[in-house]
Amino acid sequence: MTSIAIVGAGPSGCYTAQALAKALPDARIDLIDRLPVPYGLIRYGVAPDHQGTKAVIRQFERLFTRNDVAFFGNVTLGADLTLEDLRASHEAVVLATGLHTDRRLGIAGEDLPGVIGSGVVTRGWNDYPDAERPQIGPRVVIVGNGNVAVDLLRILAKAPAEFDGSDFAPESGAALMAAGVTRIDVVGRSGAGMAKFDPVMLRELGRLAQASLHVHGATGEGKVIEALQAIDVHRPEGATREVHFHFGWTPEDIEGRACVEAVRFRASNGEGALHLPCDTVLTAIGFDGETAQADGDGRIAEGLYATGWYRRGPRGTIPENRADAQAVAARIAADLAQATSDKPGRAALTAGLPEAVGYDGWRRIDAAECAACPPDRARRKIATRAEMLTLARQSEDR
């Protein structure tokens, strides 16, 4: 039997397992993640009010219930397990560990309290284990012109009732209400025509109940500009928050003594300056970190592969990771056709990792999250690793 280990149970790892289970029905696949729960950024990145996007999880549940795919959660490659061990125990190892560190602006004032990266904020709002809820003030500047910036602004701009059906923790909602956000400025370095917003995400903003939308300097043509112009008229009666979009401004420095007080921008091409007083700066300019030295098919070395954000860098949405995972899986299947398969595989993991959380453990966490769910929410996430581990280790008959 061929044993394949995939490190990282985010969408890339799960789609790789799905494609491998199809291509190599006799292979035994082990999905390893440092968290006690699977699904990576589908659970901890995709916005809590986008449950439809999270529904791909239903495909991945099949892997564990119908295919010979096992989950080893609470296992960190590099701490609980070395890559050498894993390569020794499995015929193929796929690294799908993603990228998690917020890219830095590289300007003065960036380390002032009140400046927070989008990864930190979204982990807080998605109840990532032991993550802190972000401290937000009334005036927020968001730096960045991609879909994550839109996620941030939408969450900040929503009224409590607009979180119905989401899995946004009631405490996070209460903290936002207490923050009393009144103004959100979203600033991009390039012109509106170059902004990486998905038009459909912009249009969604046109339904916000409490926020008026103001677009500055979106001239030109294209779908993004059309969408920006279409929402520029959104002025609901009694709006309590103003959202302003600005284009073509490069951040110069963040001002403040004990905490952030303002951001200064200069025009990206030409003369001019923009000075935005604020209490909070959220950066949404992408993610950073080491990526794999892999070839076009995702092969790093014999029996070692990479896929997803770890292979390509922090770009691309779930569909692109699916295509990438399918390509890597096809390559692995071709390579393994000639390989001998006599390695211990799962038995080695089971013996060496007594602290691992299996799929049954995750099912107990999942059941507890659904059981504790308030009526206006989709689930109530367990927010600490300790509590997850306690639930995962409860015996079935309790």
């Binding site: 789609y15 799905q18 986008h50 449950q51 996007t53 529904a55 495909q59 038009p199 459909v200 249009r203």
Partner: protein, 148 residues
């Protein structure tokens, strides 16, 4: 009559549903094909088509259905005598373009002369129904009407 399931997908939900429908209809031994691998010239009047597709972008077809749409446009086939039913997948988070993918394929096929059997079904990824719970009774009802 032969049954052929055609699916258009981007993140795999429609593909999984197509496979589930195929398993459910195993005694009819249906064929299952990704729309990106299907040529309109291969439509056959002796076959009943179950079309499953999601919606992307601003109400567009998912990536895997786009090559098919391009071939339909360039070949302009005459599909009279072809019968089909549509199961659309979408998300009510996109209310202006909810389930436009299924709607587009329906219009494309009826526009070429094919006959829609029954009403197009619309699944909502943000709703509480699992796609299977809507789709399997739907195919059972189609079969009870004697489509295949």
């Amino acid at each position: 009559m032969q049954i052929h399931i055609l699916y258009g997908t981007e993140t795999g939900n429609a593909e999984m549903l197509a496979e589930d429908i195929s398993d459910h209809l195993s005694e009819h031994a249906p064929e299952v094909t990704n729309l990106e691998d299907f040529d309109p010239a291969d439509f056959d009047t002796g076959t009943f088509y179950l079309v499953v597709t999601s919606t992307y972008g601003d109400g567009e077809l998912p990536a895997s259905a786009q090559p098919f749409a391009e071939k339909m446009a360039s070949q302009a086939p005459d599909l009279s005598g072809i019968r089909f039913a549509v199961f659309g997948m979408g998300d009510s988070e996109y209310p202006e373009t909810f389930n436009f993918g299924g709607k587009r394929l329906e219009e494309m096929l009826t526009g070429a002369g094919a006959e829609l059997v029954g009403e197009r079904v619309t699944h909502d990824a943000s709703g509480s129904d699992m796609a299977d719970d809507l789709a399997l009774p739907w195919v059972d009802a189609l079969l009870a009407e004697g489509v295949a």
